[in-house]
Amino acid sequence: MNIPQEYKELTWQGLWKNNPGLVQLLGLCPLLAVTSTVVNALGLGLATLFVLICSNATVSAVQHWVPKEIRIPIFVLIIAAFVTCIQLLMNAFTFDLYESLGIFLPLIVTNCAIIGRAEAYASKNSVKHASFDGLMMGLGFLLVLVALGAIREVLGQGTLLDGAELLFGDWASQLRIEVFHLDNQFLLAILPPGAFIAMGFLIAAKNKIDAKLAEQQPKQQEAQIERVRVNFDG
């Protein structure tokens, strides 16, 4: 029963407790810059997720051959290689989305969440656990991106999933939902300041929920703590 416990913990950490977007606050640059629509957020989130899984797995696989002194340059090399591969693949197969994500695709390299996970978790754990950690951290990041993208898209343009055909092909243009009609777009939500504000609310909401959760089960925890008072001055 030891292994499932570890996976459960990793899921909890990645999706909620130690969420790279909301708690670690890593990779803010892509988080704030590309989340103007759900589709952009989803595209970048998936790319980051893929890079995170691959880099975590690779870093974990080579951990025994990499001396401590040169681990960082090697991690960077591995991450950069995967990002470049993703970039090429997206350029080839989702051309329009590649165009609309622009500079933020290569900037995944600088997403500290990825090297952070490589250093903090993948380099010390088995390939299986590291890949799973990558998956969960990536999903956590993806969810925050999409949530932020949805908030900004609804407020800014009154739509959801506008431009889904960029990611999924022509059939997906039907996925577009017009929540309400705006004659003039709400600029603040689309521009970076809107991203900061929405992000602030998301983090506040998470903290609020955490506080509620903590309130619900404090007694149980307190009962377990047995204090032993040692007074040397005695």
């Binding site: 990499v66 001396p67 040169i70 591995i78 090429l88 350029n91 051309f95 003039n184 777009q185």
Partner: protein, 209 residues
């Protein structure tokens, strides 16, 4: 100490080689598809602008590098549509240097008699929600250029409505449409002055096809 440095250097080099190989392989696999996609994208834009039934050459390969102050400082490309030897239209890329937020890249298609067939925005950094209405995805404004022509040198209609011209500006954004109108006007002027020489040239874009 020296030994450690040597080992680390070797290891780094090994990783560098491995990573480069991986990227190289992916590049090899995707290279052709990417070129194909770019050509397809280009062809789609060209087809939207110039009706494919009016010409019979391979327009995306009949590309000429042009440099002229009217088209901005960059080297631009002109795609020529011909039917047999007869010139039909040209689609010319152009730069509007005076956008609200830097350069705006446009493609302007003009038929041989000087009538604008259509304009598309290729690349821009205008304010989302205001200036980005020059994208066809966001607003049909860019279609207002269709079938317009320059009558003479002093054609005052080629300006936004605020400046007394025939093109609407957007609410909250005058600079962007003004820049686009002026760039299109300059391109049409360039075409009217140079169209004969343009169609005499042979394709010379150094593109890998």
């Amino acid at each position: 100490m020296r030994k450690a440095i040597e080992n680390n250097a070797k290891l780094l080099a090994l990783f560098a080689v491995a990573c480069t190989t991986l990227v190289g392989l992916v590049h090899l696999l995707t290279k052709d598809i990417i070129v194909e996609q770019e050509q397809q994208q280009l062809l789609n834009t060209l087809n939207e602008l110039v009706d494919p039934s009016t010409y019979n050459n391979a327009i995306n390969q009949a590309c000429i590098m042009v440099e002229h102050e009217l088209l901005g400082i960059k080297t631009q490309k002109a795609y020529l549509a011909k039917k047999g030897q007869q010139p039909i239209a040209a689609a010319i890329t152009t730069t509007a240097p005076d956008g609200y937020n830097g350069d705006i890249q446009l493609m302007v298609a003009i038929s041989f008699d000087g009538v604008v067939k259509g304009v598309r925005t290729l690349k821009h950094k205008e304010t989302p929600g205001l200036g980005d209405k020059i994208e066809l995805r966001k607003s049909p404004w860019i279609l207002s250029f269709n079938n317009k022509q320059i009558l003479d040198n002093k054609d005052r209609r080629w300006a936004v409505a605020k400046d007394g011209g025939m093109f609407d500006q957007f609410t909250g954004a005058t600079i962007t449409p003004r820049a686009v109108v002026n760039a299109v006007k300059r391109t049409v002027t360039y075409f009217n002055q140079n169209k004969k020489q343009l169609f005499d040239k042979t394709a010379n874009c150094q593109e890998v096809l």
